[in-house]
Symmetry: C2
Subunit: 257 residues, 2 copies
């Protein structure tokens, strides 16, 4: 039950006490207003901590879950496979994200979830979460909104993969990642490294690693990105948004109160 590693100043407005699930609550508050009482109840959810190394499975297609994993630190992703061995990363998850609300309502998983980096998970027993959702309509709504926002992101990815060329596609993904990361994570003022290998970006964007490599080089050439060693950073988010035609509307952030 140790605390999440990324604690920072609490969000403005009414907030829960700091707890291990603090970042999770902060994430929910980006999309939903939650009375303080509901926040406290969320913060009081029981969980046990689980640490995983990169590529470890959090859930496998066909599994029946008994706990809802919440990402306290590190990154994770959802993926699906085709017969021929190809895979598609269909979502990327960021600290504060719940990884599997779906198992509250559907019997088996239709995709796998894996750790992208080293990861800390709060494993919340499904029964506890179910009870809270049943008792607290605002919490139920927060869960639903979270599910809907993830859906909206998925639709944007469909557009991205289906209709944008490689540089736009990559730029768009990075814009979204940057936006979402800044929603919940603290201590990013000195920048941060994109935690994906080129192969992972390829599987995420429907491209090949070789082509990602060349596209990255082109984006570095425009000054939108910088690389040193194997580290990749966003250098000019405005330029990147320009290239991508990025608009954050689909992320449904709640207007600041």
């Amino acid at each position: 039950m140790t605390a999440a590693p990324l604690q920072g100043p609490v969000v403005p407005g009414e907030t829960a006490e700091v707890s291990g699930l603090d970042i999770f609550i902060r994430k929910l508050l980006c999309h939903t207003r939650l009375p303080g009482r509901d926040q406290h109840q969320l913060a009081a959810l029981p969980f046990h901590l689980r640490r995983l190394v990169p590529n470890e499975y959090i859930l496998r297609e066909g599994d029946v879950a008994i706990a809802c994993p919440i990402l306290l630190s590190g990154f994770a992703f959802r993926q699906k496979h085709v017969e021929g061995g190809g895979r598609q990363i269909v979502a990327i998850k960021i600290p504060g994200d719940a990884l599997d609300f779906q198992s509250l309502y559907l019997a088996t998983a239709d995709h796998s979830i894996q750790a992208l980096t080293h990861v800390e998970l709060a494993m919340v027993p499904l029964a506890a979460l179910e009870a809270l959702v049943a008792a607290r309509p605002h919490v139920a709504r927060a869960v639903l909104v979270d599910i809907l926002v993830e859906s909206a992101i998925g639709r944007e990815w469909q557009l991205n993969i289906g209709r944008r060329n490689a540089p736009e596609r990559l730029a768009h993904f990075l814009c979204e990642f940057d936006y979402r990361v800044h929603l919940t994570m603290r201590g990013l003022d000195n920048g941060y490294d994109i935690p994906l290998t080129q192969e992972q970006m390829a599987d995420l964007l429907g491209l090949t690693p070789v082509h990602i490599n060349r596209t990255l080089k082109a984006l570095v050439g425009t000054g939108a990105l910088v690389r040193n060693r194997r580290r990749l950073r966003i250098a000019d988010i405005a330029a990147l948004r320009q290239i991508a035609g990025f608009s954050e509307r689909y992320l449904h952030r709640l207007d600041a109160v």
Copy 2:
């Protein structure tokens, strides 16, 4: 308040009385078990009928909805645009589908919904639906499961667009369409025409109309599809599934009771 045009024998097991919303309830029952009482309450939802011609908008990006449209007959789709004018169809909706549960929980639409064919909609006032969802946990769950299944379909489309080549992609879409259509629609024993133009299929699959045309020709060559005049039909669903590597797991159909 006329009845839906596609009534057939009621589903086995406990079912609601036949009503205008019958097909909608049948659809929900494909994914969720619903006590008879809840079915009756759903059937009793107020609505008014709306008829649209092809390409008419049902909802525009940025709109604030006041009613939840339910598709009684005909087909509709969700779409998103990129700057350059390209569009991506991100979902196709089939008779019985609710078109906009999202507006129950999110302020504005992040995509548009349009009629694909001539369409009959049951417009259910949001307030009535909200009241029912609040009063009946089973109905709330049915709505949630419906949202989750649509999400799962979206993920499969990401995989489809990102990782399959043109023939597989087209075949996969047709398999899914066929599967879903048979879930709720009746009177399909003599086959049916795919209600999409080649341009629409292109916008759905991230391809160009010209390439769809050539890919269709190839699939007709294998015998999986047949065309006469401008009509397109599935001739050999098994062959099509084979080509696509189709598995219906992601559609989360409830096991027959």
